[in-house]
Amino acid sequence: MDNLGLLADGFGAVLTPENLLYAVIGVLLGTFVGVLPGIGPAMAVALLLPVTYGLEPISAFIMFAGIYYGGMYGGSTTAILLNTPGESASVMTALEGNLMARGGRAAQALATAAIGSFVAGTVGTLLVVLFAPALASVAVEIGAPSYFALMVLAMIMVTSVLGGSPLRGFIALFLGLTIGLVGLDLNTGQTRLSFDQPLLAERIDVVVVAVGIFALGEALWVAAHLRRTPAHVVPVGRPWMSGDDVRRSWGPWLRGTAYGFPFGALPAGGAEIPTFLSYVTEKRIAARKGRDEFGRGAIEGVAGPEAANNASAAGTFVPLLALGLPVTATSAVMLAALQGYGIEPGPGLMTDQPELVWALLASLLIGNVLLLVLNLPLAPVWARLLQIPRPQLYAGILFFAALGAYAANLQAFDLFLLLLLGLLGLLMRRFGLPVLPLILGVILGPLMEYRLREAMAISGGEVSALWSEPLAVVIYVVVAVAVVAPLVVRRVRPAPAAVAVDEGIAGNADDEEKVR
C-alpha cells in the first residue's frame, strides 16, 4: 500500500489551479485533433507534443495526459458518429457505435464510450501503480508461441461473427486475409500481391481498409438507394443515458477492462485482440440473456470494446515505464515525450525518480477525470451532427474520409486505394457479404502469420515449439474446450437453445436494411 501513499504525494504536487487549467486545455486540444478522421491517438499526441515543451515538467505532464486521453477519446467519437475509425483499436467500437448513432442513440454511445474509457483508464492506471515492476519481468518471458496461440483463439472466435450464411462469412474472411497478405514479407524481404506497385509494397493500412469498407462503402450504398428509399431522418434521441443503459454497460466496462489490461501489459499484446474478444464475449452474453441487439446497435458492443481499448492503452505503461519498451505507436511517441521531460524509463525508474513517476500517474488519473467531465456534456452536442440532411452528411463523410486517407502520406495513390475499397464495400453490401469478417481477416491474418513465422524461425522449423510455452498450452486447452464442449453438449442433450446463440450478426447490410 506504500505505492498508494506515494500516489497521494503525486496528487499533492499536481493539483493546483494552474495545472488543472493546463489539463483542461490539453483535453480539449486532444479531443479536437483526435476527432479529425485518419488521425489516431499516436498522431494526435505527436502533433500536439510541442505545445507542452517550455512548461514546467509537472505542468507539461498533466497537459500531456489530457492530450493523450483527449486524443484517444476523439478517435472513438469519429468512429461512432461517422464510421471512420482512426486506428485499428477503434474498429470494434465503430461497428455497434455507428449503428446506435444511426438509430438515434449517438449520445448514449458516446456517453458509454466516455464512461467506459474512464473506468478502464482509472482501473488500468491503478493496476500499473500496484504491479508494473512485477508484471514487466513476467511479460518479457512470453514469446511468439504464446502470441500465436492467442491468434488461434481469436481466429476461432471469428467464426461466431460470420453471420447467418457461413459461406458468405468465409468469403469475406478470406478476402480480408488476402488483403492482409499484400506487401513486404518481413521474413524474406520479398513483396507479395503488390503487382509491381512500389506503393503497395508497404502493406495496406488497416485504417484505410476500415474507412474504405465502412464509411465509403456505406456512403456509396446509400447514394445508390437515395432515389428509391424515402428520406430517413435520424430520430432525435434522448440526450442522456437511461438507468437501463447504465445497467447494461457496467458488465461490459469491467469485462472489457479485464481483457484489455493484460494485453496492453504484454510487450506484443496490442489492443486489437482484446477489443475483438470483448465484442464477441458481449455478443454471446447478450444472446444468452435473450436481448441480442448486436447488429442493430447494442450498447454492450460499444461499452466493452471501448473499455478494452483504453485498458490496453493503460497497460502499455507497464513495459514502457518498467522496461523502457515502447510497444505501440502511441507509446513510442510517449517514450520520446517522457525522455523530453527528463524521465529515463527502465527498471530503476520507480526508485530513482519517484516524484516524477507518481506525478505522471496522478496526472493520468486527473486527465481521465477531466475527460469525463468535459466530454459527457458534449455528447448530445456531437450527436446533433447526425441531424444534417443525408446528402450533405454523406458528402461530409466522404470529404473527411478522403482527407484522412490523403493527409497521412500526401499521396494520390491512397485515394485510389480508398475508392477501390469503397467499391468493394458497396459490392459486399449488394451481395450480402458481412463486412466484419473481412476487417478481422485484415487485422488478424498478418499478426498470426508474423507470430507463426517468428516462432518457426527461432525453433528452426521445429513445430513442437508452438506448444513449448506454458501459456500457449493453457490457451490451446481453452480452444479445445471451446470447440469440443458445444459438440459434446449437443450430442448428449440436443437442446434447441444452442441453435439460437449463433444467429447473431447476419451481414451488416441485411441488418441495416431491417433498420430502415
Binding site: L186, P198, L199, A336
Partner: protein, 322 residues
C-alpha cells in the same frame, strides 16, 4: 464543426501541401524516404534545422516524407526530378538494400551524391545471462555449429541489421545461408526478445539500447566501426578488428540531389553542407543523437557508395536473395 475544419486546414498547411514556391526563391524541398520519427527523418530534419538557423541556403526548407518500399518510392521521385536544383533527399545504407529488394532500376550513385553526414555503429548484443562473455566466445560457438545460434535484428532482409550479421558470418567463414536470422519490427521488439531469452544474439544500432546496457540487462560484445564508442556502458566494448575479426561495418546516412544538375550547383550544395558541418549546432546535434561525425563529399562519397553498393549486392547474392 468550424473548429474541426479550421484544425484540418491548419494541419494541411503544417504538412506543407499548401505552400507554393516562386522560381526566384531560395527555398528548397527535402525528401525523406520513411515516416516521421524514423532515422532518416531525424537526420534530414536536424540537418535542415541547422541550415535554417545559420541561414546557409538563404531560404527555408519544405520537408516531404515519401513513404513506400523502404525508400524506393522516394528514390523514384528523386530520379524523376532530373535537373531540379532545389530538391534534395536524405538516404542511407537501408535504402541501398531496399533498392535491390524491390528491384528498383536505380542505384543511389545514379543520383547526384552530395555528402555523407553521419555514421552509426552497429552492436553485437546478448542478454546479461548469456554464456557468451566475449565476441570470441560467440564466434567460436557460431563457427562450431552455425545452426545452434539464433540471431535477431531490427530490419527485414536487405536492411542494415540483416546485412551486418551476414557479413560477420562471412568474415568468420560461416556460410551466410546457414545463419538463422529472425527479423523484428525495430529496436523495441528486438529488445523484448533479447530480454526474454528468445534469441541468442541481437544485431542493431547501439543507440537503441542505451537504457538496458547501462542497467546491465544486456551485454555489448563488440561494436562494428573502426574505433570504439565513447560513453557510459559502451566504451568497454571492443571493435571487431581489435578482436581479430576483419570486418568494419557502419550504417551511414547522407544527402543526395537529383541527377542532371549543373556542376556549379553541385559544388554549391556541397559547400552548403560543409558550412553546416562546421557549425557548433551540428556538432551539438551529433552528440545529442549519439551519431559519429563521418563527413565525406563529392567524389570521395561517390566512390564510397560504389563500394557499399557492391558489398550489399555480394551479401544478397550469397543469400540467393537477388
Amino acid at each position: 464543426m468550424a473548429t474541426v475544419v479550421a484544425l484540418a486546414g491548419a494541419l494541411l498547411l503544417a504538412t506543407g501541401c499548401g505552400v507554393t514556391r516562386g522560381p526566384q526563391s531560395d527555398d528548397m524541398t527535402m525528401l525523406i524516404p520513411n515516416s516521421p520519427g524514423g532515422g532518416y527523418d531525424t537526420t534530414g530534419r536536424t540537418a535542415i534545422a541547422v541550415m535554417e538557423e545559420s541561414d546557409i541556403t538563404g531560404g527555408s526548407f519544405e520537408v516531404t516524407n515519401v513513404i513506400g518500399a523502404g525508400g524506393s518510392v522516394a528514390m523514384t521521385r528523386l530520379m524523376n526530378a532530373e535537373g531540379d536544383e532545389r530538391t534534395m533527399m536524405t538516404a542511407g545504407l537501408g535504402v541501398v538494400g531496399s533498392l535491390y529488394s524491390f528491384g528498383a532500376p536505380h542505384k543511389l550513385q545514379d543520383a547526384t551524391p552530395i555528402a555523407q553526414v553521419i555514421e552509426d555503429q552497429e552492436g553485437v548484443l546478448v542478454p546479461a545471462d548469456s554464456p557468451y562473455e566475449t565476441i570470441g566466445d560467440l564466434a567460436a560457438a557460431w563457427q562450431d555449429d552455425p545452426g545452434s545460434i539464433v540471431v535477431g535484428g531490427g530490419s527485414s532482409p536487405g536492411g542494415p541489421d540483416h546485412l551486418f550479421p551476414m557479413q560477420l558470418a562471412t568474415a568468420l567463414d560461416i556460410d551466410a545461408r546457414d545463419v538463422r536470422y529472425v527479423p523484428y519490427d525495430g529496436g523495441g521488439p528486438l529488445t523484448t526478445a533479447l530480454l526474454g531469452g528468445k534469441i541468442d544474439v541481437g544485431f542493431s544500432g547501439v543507440g537503441e539500447f542505451e537504457g538496458p546496457l547501462s542497467e546491465g540487462r544486456l551485454r555489448l560484445l563488440a561494436v562494428s566501426g573502426e574505433e570504439r564508442l565513447e560513453g557510459e556502458g559502451v566504451r568497454e566494448a571492443p571493435t571487431l578488428q581489435e578482436s581479430g575479426i576483419d570486418l568494419v561495418f557502419t550504417n551511414w546516412r547522407g544527402i543526395f540531389a537529383p541527377p542532371g544538375i549543373s556542376e556549379e550547383r553541385r559544388d554549391e550544395l556541397i559547400s552548403m553542407l560543409e558550412e553546416m558541418h562546421d557549425t557548433p549546432e551540428w556538432q551539438q546535434a551529433l552528440e545529442d543523437n549519439g551519431w559519429i561525425d563521418e563527413f565525406k563529399t563529392g567524389d570521395e562519397f561517390t566512390a564510397f557508395l560504389q563500394e557499399q553498393d557492391e558489398r550489399v549486392a555480394t551479401t544478397l547474392e550469397e543469400l540467393d536473395l537477388l
